[in-house]
């Protein structure tokens, strides 16, 4: 166990280091530094202004020098300033990370519950299996921004039941209403994986002798499912969650853009596009770290639940 954890820790550290170098170089190699962008937007800036600002922001240094300086500062715990928001990076990332974790957490919960229900439906009522299947496959196949726009048209613009985007100013129910559409958009994509894995697992479990025995004792179907079969389905759920953590962040970028929610996905996108290297890198590394930790946690959970893997 310790060996496993140590191995994973090393792996995570190496991945992060390589990722940071690759991304720093890629972002740095893109033509058009922040000053060029500022020049294009402001007719009054002169060439001397540009040279002066470039020196001021340290942009006249070679790329690798800048990377080393940046990495050294990062290791000292200095995340630097965001160019786009003119604030310390940590201060911007905090609220964005929270917002994204809420969104992703809700999406995982919803897709797991719905996916398991579909899976259970398919396992218990084989005649309904094709229907459950169709729902899952369609959800997985729709481009998420398309689905999001359709949901907005139906529920926000036409019916007026839910907000079309943004985030609530108050907590509680109000916040929940703002979450519903983005979570639905995000959850649809992963429904299929949960449904398929749980259906397969449950079908197996329900054929087991001890289930037959329980049935013979007169245990109700619902109780049978919840008490006896469901715990076994937790394993595939964790497996799917572990595999999909990375792709969910991508989904968050789309839903955050479409529903105008502040969050990590959009932050990274804006930072890359706006040449805000500090913010882009720290955010990207943090997200990578969180996904890798999530994967690790799911792995460990799986081992704990399933003695065959231990």
């Amino acid at each position: 166990m310790i060996r496993l954890l140590a191995g994973r820790a090393v792996q995570i550290a190496v991945t992060l280091a390589l990722l940071s170098l690759a991304m720093f170089l890629l972002i740095g190699l893109m033509p058009g530094d922040p000053i060029d962008l500022a020049l294009a937007g402001d007719p009054r800036l002169t060439a001397e202004d540009a040279a002066r600002l470039r020196a001021l922001h340290g942009l006249d240094q070679p790329l690798l020098t800048r990377y080393l300086a940046w990495a050294a500062a990062l290791l000292r715990g200095e995340f630097g300033y965001s160019r786009l928001f003119a604030q310390p990076v940590a201060q911007i990332i905090g609220p964005a990370l929270l917002s994204t974790l809420v969104l992703l957490g809700a999406a995982i919960a919803v897709s797991a519950v719905l996916g398991l229900s579909l899976g259970a439906l398919a396992a218990m009522r084989p005649r309904l299996a094709p229907l459950a299947d169709a729902i899952a496959i369609l959800g997985q196949s729709a481009p998420s921004f398309w689905l999001g726009i359709l949901l907005i048209i139906v529920f926000a613009v036409t019916l007026g039941w839910l907000p079309a985007g943004g985030s609530a100013e108050a907590g509680g129910w109000e916040a929940l209403r703002f979450l519903l559409l983005p979570v639905a958009t995000l959850a649809m994509a992963n429904l299929a994986a949960y449904a398929r894995h749980s259906a397969a697992e449950l079908t197996n479990v329900l054929r087991a002798p001890w289930i037959t025995a329980a049935r013979a004792r007169g245990v109700g179907e619902m109780r049978l499912l919840l008490r006896h079969a469901a715990p076994n389905a937790a394993v595939p759920v964790l497996q799917v969650a572990a595999l999909d953590a990375g792709s969910l962040v991508g989904g968050a970028l789309i839903t955050e853009t479409l529903f105008a929610r502040p969050g990590m996905g959009k932050l990274i996108y804006d930072a890359v596009m706006g040449n805000d290297t500090n913010l882009a890198l720290v955010a990207l590394l943090l997200v990578a770290l969180v996904t890798m930790l999530a994967t690790l946690a799911a792995d460990l959970g799986q081992r704990a639940l399933d003695p065959r893997l231990a």
Binding site: T15, M30, L138, A142, G246, S247, V287, T295
Partner: protein, 271 residues
Amino acid sequence: MRLRLGLLLLGLLAAAGLSAPLAAGWLGLDPFAPDLFNRFAPASAQNPLGTDDLGRDVLLRLMQGARVSLAVGVATALAATLLGTAIGLLAAWRGGVVDAVLMRLADGLLALPALPVLVVLAAADTGRIGLPRGEPASDIFRIVAILSVFGWVGVARLARAAALSVLARDYVRAARALGAGEARVLARHVLPNIAGPIAIAAALTVAGAILAESTLSFLGLGIAPPAASWGNMLANAQDLVFSAPWVAVWPGLAILMAVAGCTLVADGLRR
């Protein structure tokens, strides 16, 4: 059943793509020529699915888009499958340090948030490494290349797992004992026996690539106009989605069909 349904869907789309020039001739329309007097026309005999923001026929553009989108999907799958199979086989065959390094690399890539990294790759300037900029063909190449960076991982993991179990079988040991060369063992015994899982992974990669292309288009990083892909048609339609929803509905449905088709094929192969 699933396999047949999936192949039917994909076959239909591929046929639509292949017959695009024929259909253009038959309808007497050019899917690339703007017609400012015929913008957002509703469905009619002349334009079976209506026209888009520049008065171009939506059906013909969908058929053109089928060529580009399916090309992106198939090319990515091909590249990812070749790379992934090679890496998976190598890892399983050599084992030890090679296996550990390759698989840790795969794990690392799998854990990464792919889309933000793709955005960085897509926004990078291909001109700097000597590729032509902005040509439609190089556009497709660029998209395929960056999608393959992540695409190979799934294939490699499946290929490795399958290859490991094959390599442990008695007949492989027997073949080796009889003096068969390693190349022969891999080519004659291992590869044919892992083709199943690889085909499944390839089908899923096609689906993933088509979805990813549409997502990149949504972010303005996809295939450039005037070429039509389902992704850029959909992205172009989003601004006017409230006044001309059909322009957005059709390419969305096309993507849905293609991805569902691939998933069904993969499911069918799995059984």
